[in-house]
């Protein structure tokens, strides 16, 4: 109860304080050279926000929707506060925008560049990432199953799987451009190589996770390899497989963007980032990074949501 009261009193106070500081920092006299009092205020707000947030996250509300809302509020407020600090420090300390632009500048840039961002998003995320992700995860999974099914292959394939595990993007990207051309297929190919190994390793680990009597039960039914796989071993392996899908969801995006540094048509998130860095338009660079973060987090979130549905029985969801 005290946590709730603390949170409900402090949160609005901190919010108000932050707004005030934001107004202050953008005043011509303050920007670039605020006094120690100003920084003191910022530090005080920081401490207060920690107390408020920990109060909020321990909050238990009676109605379910309200509780949901509260649990959503915490990461959002936490993030908002990080952005607040970023803005205040960058503007307050007068950090040059070529090093680190202020969030407000990034947001303005983001809003003003919607058409460009949309085209880049389609090129990089929809075409390269999704295709490459599906193929890479699929390939890792299939090879893991193959290695599992055919013991002879297992001992040959797994060491080879390790072999391709660390083919660095910067090495394969130029080769893929040479092989598959400048457009998105070469980026998708890079993503395939990057996502293959995490899936392979996790699937192989997951396939060994079934317990002994659970396997014996299948044996006693004289269930064949595929039946056992489908009805026992894959369900048990799912938490591992989903780990790989989650890791890959962010890895694929990084891979596709970085691959675009090594030759592209004149569209794509990586293309934009690399040329805007050289133009010193760091606000645009960060607008693209923000887009990547939003897309990547949404992708990850979608995978995590499916995971929760598919592995509801796992102890980690039964606390």
């Amino acid at each position: 109860m005290t946590a709730a009261r603390r949170a409900s009193v402090l949160t609005p106070l901190v919010l108000a304080g932050c707004l005030y500081v934001l107004m202050l920092v953008h005043r011509p006299g303050v920007a670039g050279a605020p006094g120690p009092l100003f920084w003191g205020l910022v530090v005080a707000l920081w401490l207060a926000s920690i107390v408020a947030l920990s109060g909020l996250s321990n909050l238990r509300l009676k109605s379910r929707p309200a509780d949901r809302l509260a649990s959503l509020a915490v990461p959002i407020l936490f993030g908002a506060f990080l952005f607040f600090l970023w803005e205040v420090i960058v503007v307050g300390a007068g950090v040059p925008s070529v090093l680190m632009p202020a969030p407000s500048a990034i947001a303005r840039r983001f809003a003003a560049s919607m058409p460009v961002l949309r085209d880049d998003f389609i090129q990089t995320f929809v075409k390269s990432v999704l295709t490459g992700y599906a193929m890479g995860c699929g390939a890792g999974f299939v090879v893991a199953i193959l290695a599992d099914r055919v013991p002879f292959l297992r001992r040959g394939l797994l060491p080879l799987g390790n072999f391709v595990s660390a083919l660095p993007v910067i090495g394969i990207a130029p080769i893929m451009v040479m092989w598959f051309g400048f457009d998105w297929p070469s980026k998708a190919a890079v993503v395939v190589v990057m996502t293959f190994f995490p899936m392979l390793v996790n699937t192989v680990a997951g396939l060994t996770a079934a317990g002994r009597i659970e396997r014996d039960l299948m044996q006693s039914y004289a269930a064949g390899y595929w039946t056992t796989l489908l009805k026992l071993r894959l369900p048990v392996a799912l938490p591992f497989i989903f780990n790989a899908l989650k890791i890959n969801s962010t890895l694929a995006l990084i891979g596709a963007i970085v691959a675009e540094f090594f030759g592209t048509p004149t569209v794509g998130m990586g293309f934009r980032i690399s040329i805007e860095v050289a133009r010193m338009s760091l606000d645009m660079v960060w607008a693209e990074i923000a887009l990547a973060a939003i897309a990547g987090s949404a992708f990850y979130g979608a995978v995590a949501l499916i995971e929760r549905g598919a592995t509801f029985w796992h102890p980690s969801y039964r606390t």
Binding site: P174, M178, G263, F271, S274, A278, R279, M280
Partner: protein, 309 residues
Amino acid sequence: QAEKVNLQLKWVTQAQFAGYYVAKEKGFYKEAGLDVNIKPGGPDIAPPQVIAGGGADVIVDWMPSALAAREKGVPLVNIAQPFKQSGMMLTCRAETGIKTPGDLKGRTLGVWFSGNEYPFLAWMAKLGLKTDGSAGGVKVLKQGFNVDPLIQKQADCISTMTYNEYWQVIDAGFKPEQLVVFKYEEQGVATLEDGLYVMQDKLKDPAFVSRMAKFVAASQKGWDYVRKSPDEAAKIVLENDASGAQTEKHQKRMAGEIAKLLDTSGSGKLDPADYDRTVATLLASGGDAPVITKKPEGAWSHAVVDAKK
């Protein structure tokens, strides 16, 4: 006690920067009382960012990129311009039938971005060719670091430097007559390359100016040396190449070609006419994201070069 100078190069260690390496190895810097630390660059390094973050005292950069940075709030000032001419050109396979700039219409062209696309864009604007992929223009690819797109026939023409990529194409088996080249200098869209830039506010400090004066003078001595003995300069570069990937043949050739681009007056003083031409080219490049929107003010200074007398 030697004064420290951090120099950030624009690209990896190669004969393009031979002057600085020679000055260091031959002790020209030491004679001037300097301790120079040369930081190689690369595709992922933007020298203006490094100098803005305090990672360098002086950088080698191309003028379009430096002026862009200046407009974006990093007040870079050109203090010396050892390179008089641009080495950039567009190299096409002759078999494509391209003979004049007019033949470029509808072709696929490899272009270096990262701040080096402006002369190209200005040129296309001058030719009336669209670069946004619409019909009647040219198809632009963001070229990687090498000349593969030309050899693999993924592009009809690619960007090359007279001193580097062009020779890689030759090494790949092309004869000069199988290639058609368009030098930016000859097309009237050349921009200044490889100048030395510092932060504007530092120039208020006389000690800094005198340190830079010594640095520029010693560097010029290095460049003179390169002009005279390019082969030895290439060897010095090779010794400084930590990646161990450069070949002697290629670096010697590069040193020779670089020598042709240098300012023969020997002072390294920026010619304001070259500067004006560069600015004009950049302002003409147009497009929806122009590199500079207005004429820069105070983007160069002779203070350092003059101080060395």
